[in-house]
């Protein structure tokens, strides 16, 4: 292929997104009309642009069947509606990432399944908490405080941390926490089991259900009805306990449940299940 042909191929491949996303006027018109059909005057007032500019943009969108004029109002066509919903998803995804830039840019994201990276907009109301030189445990303490408010906890735990496990034991000893579901790797499971205290107070605790996956986990996700928290590993493989995302809204909970669902599907091949000391079973599922 000649370089002109290659360029032409690339232009065709990306023409759809380029046309919409590189024109501020076209994308703003779609967003404005998505909210409700509007006439020229309303669009002029909202976008603060002259009629000629707006009419030019509308004509372009009409030509590609994204907008249509019904009497004096402009509305989205079916195609325009589909595309705008997905453009809003894209904008929200980018907003969600740029809001916590440092968090996303500093970490290994391989623990987050692709499907869920595409739905990161669900975390757009999450708050980025980080430790500082004057408060090295800020992220950890915030997390521990949140844990104490929950009745049922689900945790994907990629690390063996005595600090975390001791706090979980404290919570299990109280009446408030009635159920703890832990998803860990085999290696972490074995480490927990080797420790007498953790074996007795966590593995053999009737309130606790532990599930294992063979693979190494790269995501620390905790969720319950009250909050979702997420922390990750650095690219060099070390766990980062100084930065955490915390969200308390329904969308974030949806995101966490979807991640958990994907990980639990992985657990199908090899499961170590326990439901309390008297009913311990370890089995292979094929």
């Amino acid at each position: 292929m000649t370089s002109a042909e290659i360029k032409q191929g690339l232009t065709e491949e990306f023409s759809g997104i380029k046309y919409i996303l590189t024109s501020g006027m076209r994308s703003r018109l779609l967003l404005a009309i998505y909210e409700s059909p509007k006439n020229l005057e309303e669009l002029r007032a909202e976008l603060k642009k002259p009629s000629a500019t707006i009419l030019h943009g509308l004509k372009e969108l009409e030509n590609i069947n994204l907008v249509r004029k019904v009497q004096k109002s402009y509305e989205l066509t079916s195609n325009g509606f589909l595309l705008t919903v997905n453009m809003i998803k894209l904008i929200d995804n980018w907003y969600s990432i740029s809001k916590s830039k440092i968090f996303w840019n500093n970490h290994d994201l391989s623990g987050i399944p692709d499907e869920l990276l595409k739905d990161i907009y669900l975390l757009k109301d999450a708050e980025y908490i980080h430790s500082t030189t004057s408060d090295l445990s800020n992220a950890f303490n915030t997390y521990i405080n949140l844990l104490s408010t929950s009745e049922e906890l689900k945790i994907i735990m990629p690390i063996y941390s005595e600090n975390h496990l001791k706090h979980l034991i404290k919570l299990l000893n109280r009446k408030r926490l009635v159920k703890l579901e832990l998803l860990v790797s085999e290696e972490i499971y074995d480490s927990i089991k080797e420790n007498d205290l953790f074996n007795k107070k966590i593995i053999q605790n009737k309130k606790v259900q532990i599930k294992c996956v063979k693979e190494e986990l790269k995501i620390f996700l905790t969720y319950c009805d009250e909050f979702v928290s997420l922390s990750l590993f650095f690219k060099d493989g070390h766990y980062d306990d100084s930065q955490i995302l915390i969200a308390k809204d329904e969308n974030a909970l949806k995101w966490a449940i979807s991640i958990d669902k994907i990980y639990k599907q992985k657990e199908e091949k090899y499961v170590k299940l326990q439901t309390g000391s008297s009913n311990y079973n370890e089995h292979l599922e094929h």
């Binding site: 491949e13 990306f14 595309l83 980018w94």
Partner: protein, 263 residues
């Protein structure tokens, strides 16, 4: 809704250049140096080199010992951008299916996940096979053990098909419009219907509002039909798929419509 300036700038910077997108896609698959990128993409050295510099300057890639890596945040930008590209393709590829059709009964979430329908097949009737869409659905249902459906109209074949599934020990869960509920129930063999309801193998929900959507979910396949914006059902087009993602998409949509019944 408005777009934040920094997002707007980043979006324009990446979407404006197909070459930059291509380079990022390649680097995401495999970190590389400029020469390696030239080899991978067949784009000229000068073009790759100048765009790599721009990408690095804008913090989208990072150079470590002569090799360029995509920054994690840009990885997500890229994935979501490609997801948007796929949704645009979905709209364009099946334009006749969406265009001038009523999408109000699709949930916002199902529209956000429209790319899950990526490998679907658009079945259209032809002058020599005007029952192609109906026969496709009929085949899907006949060979299924578990059928879920949203039926906005009653085809004379449906009662028989439902009986067939139930007689083979299968289960049927339907959401039907109010206007056809009674007629459908009456047309299913009395004994089969009563037994199936008793054994919880037949569940039929009555949709109180207008039902502007057709959906079937069979054992391993789904089909979707839409109403035109003039209010008539488009019998000439259905989207079918046996891809697991499309299947899950259809199941979620079914649950969404079921929740509307309860609302």
């Amino acid at each position: 809704m408005y777009i934040h300036n920094d997002i707007d700038d980043d979006m324009k910077f990446l979407a404006k250049s197909e070459i930059r997108l291509k380079i990022l896609n390649e680097l995401y698959k495999k970190p590389n140096d400029v020469r390696g990128l030239v080899k991978q993409t067949d784009i000229t050295y000068s073009s790759v080199s100048s765009n790599v510099i721009k990408l690095e300057k804008n913090n989208h890639i990072k150079k470590v010992k002569n090799t360029y890596y995509v920054n994690p945040m840009t990885e997500v930008y890229l994935k979501t951008l490609m997801d948007f590209k796929n949704s645009v393709q979905m709209v364009n590829e099946y334009e006749s299916f969406w265009d001038k059709h009523d999408l109000n009964q699709l949930s916002i979430n199902s529209i956000r996940r429209i790319t899950d329908l990526k490998d679907s097949e658009l079945i259209e009737t032809t002058p020599i096979d005007i029952y192609k869409t109906h026969n496709t659905i009929k085949n899907q249902i006949s060979f299924s053990n578990c059928v879920k459906g949203v039926f906005p109209y009653l085809h004379p074949d449906y009662p028989g098909l439902i009986e067939e599934v139930l007689e083979n020990e299968g289960s049927v869960e339907l959401i039907v419009s109010k206007s056809i509920f009674k007629e459908l129930m009456l047309r299913i063999n009395n004994k089969i219907r009563k037994n199936a309801i008793k054994e919880h193998k037949l569940k039929v929900y009555r949709f109180k509002k207008d039902l502007n959507l057709y959906l079937t979910i069979c054992d391993e396949s789904m089909s979707l039909g839409l109403f035109k914006t003039d209010g008539s059902f488009d019998q000439n087009r259905i989207l079918i798929s046996d891809n697991p993602k499309s299947y899950d998409w259809a199941k979620d949509l079914f649950e969404h419509v079921k929740n509307e019944v309860r609302a």
